[in-house]
């Protein structure tokens, strides 16, 4: 039924994309692997083979340990925060309240703005000074509202400062999870809700027992998207906190060591390790979701 020639046309139409992605994604990854196995330090390319030395050094590098800790904290706070707030907003908006369209648009708009634009504002808002004469940003707001106990050091909080940075990322991306969840909620057939109400379930029970389990695939997609964003996080931290070791993450280490220190080999190794961790998240997901779609 499918003519062989027609199939060939299909292939030819996709071929330019395959070639482009082949070069710009896989070719460049291969190039990075090659650099990561080299001794390249300085402004001139040097591909002398150094084996896994760059990788081995990273594993005993105290700065890289800080990076891993920070990435874990950021990922946990950001992914959980964006999921919970996104779900919360979606359920609220699912109640068909007045002004629903306004709220939906409002929660989505931070996605439209880059951190190059909002970074300075966040820097001001999360000013970590806690002494009375220098309060500003949220701390000043808390002070004037009598909420003194909320005054904190934000991203300068020892060890857990990344959580404050994650808050800005939640601001940006929770609208997106809201949209995903709202889509999921609207796809739940009205009969299911009615059936639950007829059975005497409260609204809360209905969400808990019937609707949330149905949202599981949405949650999974959201976790993957948010998770890979948090592994790559870069400009957000730079914009809010600058380059500070307490708030270092692998992508910043990579940028600094490559361009400030000219350790191209080490920089490429960090890039490859980042890629591997993203792959651990993505490949099972791609496998799972494409297989299930293929079955339909």
């Amino acid at each position: 039924m499918f003519a062989r020639k027609e199939k060939l046309y299909g292939f030819l139409l996709v071929l330019p994309s395959i070639i482009a992605v082949g070069i710009f994604v896989y070719g460049f990854i291969a190039w990075s692997v090659r650099v990561s196995l080299s001794d390249w330090v300085g402004l001139t390319a040097d591909y002398t083979f150094a084996g896994l030395r760059n990788y081995i050094e990273l594993f005993s590098d105290p700065r890289f340990h800080v990076d891993i800790r920070n990435t874990v904290i950021f990922t946990v706070v950001f992914v959980l925060g964006a999921l919970i707030i996104g779900l919360f907003l979606a359920i609220l908006l699912d109640q068909r309240l007045p002004g629903e369209g306004f709220f939906r648009g409002l929660f989505l708009f931070p996605m439209a703005i880059s951190f190059i634009v909002t970074g300075v504002v966040w820097r001001w808002l999360m000013n970590p000074a806690t002494s009375a004469d220098r309060l500003s940003g949220y701390n000043l707001l808390f002070d004037s509202l009598g909420l003194d106990f909320l005054i904190n050091q934000w991203h300068l909080t020892p060890t857990y400062g990344m959580a404050a940075i994650a808050m800005t990322a939640i601001w940006q991306m929770s609208g997106y999870t809201m949209a995903l969840y709202l889509g999921g909620l609207r796809a739940v057939p009205e009969e299911l809700r009615e059936a639950a109400r007829v059975d005497g379930a409260s609204e809360f029970q209905m969400y808990r027992r019937i609707i949330l389990p149905l949202l599981w695939p949405v949650t999974l997609s959201a976790v993957i998207i948010l998770g890979h964003i948090s592994l790559k996080v870069f400009d957000l931290i730079i914009a809010v906190a600058g380059k500070q070791l307490p708030l270092d993450v692998p992508s910043i280490y990579m940028w600094q060591t490559t361009f400030d220190g000219l350790f191209y080999g080490r920089g490429a190794s960090i890039g490859i390790l980042l890629l591997i961790s993203v792959a651990f998240l993505i490949i099972p997901y791609l496998y799972y979701s494409l297989r299930s779609e293929g079955e339909e």
Partner: protein
């Protein structure tokens, strides 16, 4: 009868009130979302002397449009650069994504099931890890430092997400329609043009908006791949921050100007974008 009806109406009344209570958390969240915008807005209207960290919540003493004029003067050529870069980038990558999505979803060839994940993986790579070979490659093909080069990069790194969006969307087009078209003797292009394109508007809106905003907001590729005449607005904005006295008011005004096009797109087209998102066409 009367008792049931009265209990029904009272329960409706309770539900009515409770529903309105739900507006309270919504309004609190609204404040959280709008605070950064408020600070940007009021600071942009302040005079230089008025700007200080301790008075950031205060309203400006008057409306000073000077800051916006000054920022616009500085950003003007770069806003233009952004626009002539972003529009072709968004349109071309949408078309490519649509064709790829169509072929991979409904016009499969041997091996097409492998092509999709291989393309999609490109969506997740950390761009920092390709920036150096990218810069070298762009130079070798003679497109470094130019707007067409930047367009090409956005188009190519946009292939995964645009392909996925159209793939997901076209999977919802019934197979039977394709079969019927084939029986009528329609070829690949005929099927694509007559059956798929007419229903593609929602997917195109999502992809165009997505690509428009991500190319508009990009900084990393722009700063490495363009020169000072072809800088888009994000790079110019970063430069405005300067390195001695930072004129916070002008900077905030500039930030707002730089964000305006994407904000406008979201305000006017946001609901179509949201509808597309909610339809699951961008689920990941």
């Amino acid at each position: 009868m009367s008792t049931t009806s009265s209990s029904l109406s009272s329960s409706q009344g309770r539900r009515f009130q409770r529903r309105y209570l739900l507006l309270i958390p919504l309004i609190l969240m609204t404040i959280f979302y709008l605070i950064p915008l408020y600070v940007m807005l009021v600071t942009g209207f302040k005079s230089f002397e008025e700007v200080s960290l301790q008075t950031m919540w205060n309203l400006p003493s008057g409306i000073h449009f000077d800051n916006y004029i000054e920022a616009f003067e500085k950003l003007k050529p770069h806003l233009w650069n952004s626009l002539i870069m972003v529009i072709p980038a968004a349109i071309i990558s949408s078309i490519i994504g649509s064709i790829n999505g169509f072929v991979l979803a409904r016009w499969r060839f041997p091996g097409s099931k492998l092509v999709l994940p291989l393309l999609l993986f490109g969506m997740f790579i950390p761009y920092q890890s390709v920036i150096i070979p990218l810069a070298v490659f762009m130079k070798n093909i003679g497109l470094a430092g130019s707007i067409p080069g930047l367009v090409l990069v956005h188009v190519i790194y946009g292939i995964p997400i645009t392909t996925l969006t159209f793939y997901g969307y076209y999977m919802t087009v019934p197979k039977e329609l394709v079969e019927a078209a084939k029986i009528d003797g329609a070829g690949l292009l005929g099927t694509y043009w007559n059956i798929f394109i007419p229903v593609s508007a929602p997917a195109f809106v999502v992809v165009l908006i997505w690509q428009f905003t991500s190319a508009w907001n990009d900084f990393l590729f722009a700063v490495i791949l363009t020169g000072n005449k072809s800088w888009p607005v994000t790079v110019a904005l970063q430069n405005m921050a300067g390195s001695q006295i930072i004129a916070g008011n002008v900077q905030m005004a500039g930030s707002l100007l730089a964000a305006l096009p994407t904000l406008l797109v979201y305000i006017f087209l946001g609901r179509y974008f949201l509808r597309g998102l909610m339809a699951g066409s961008l689920k990941g």
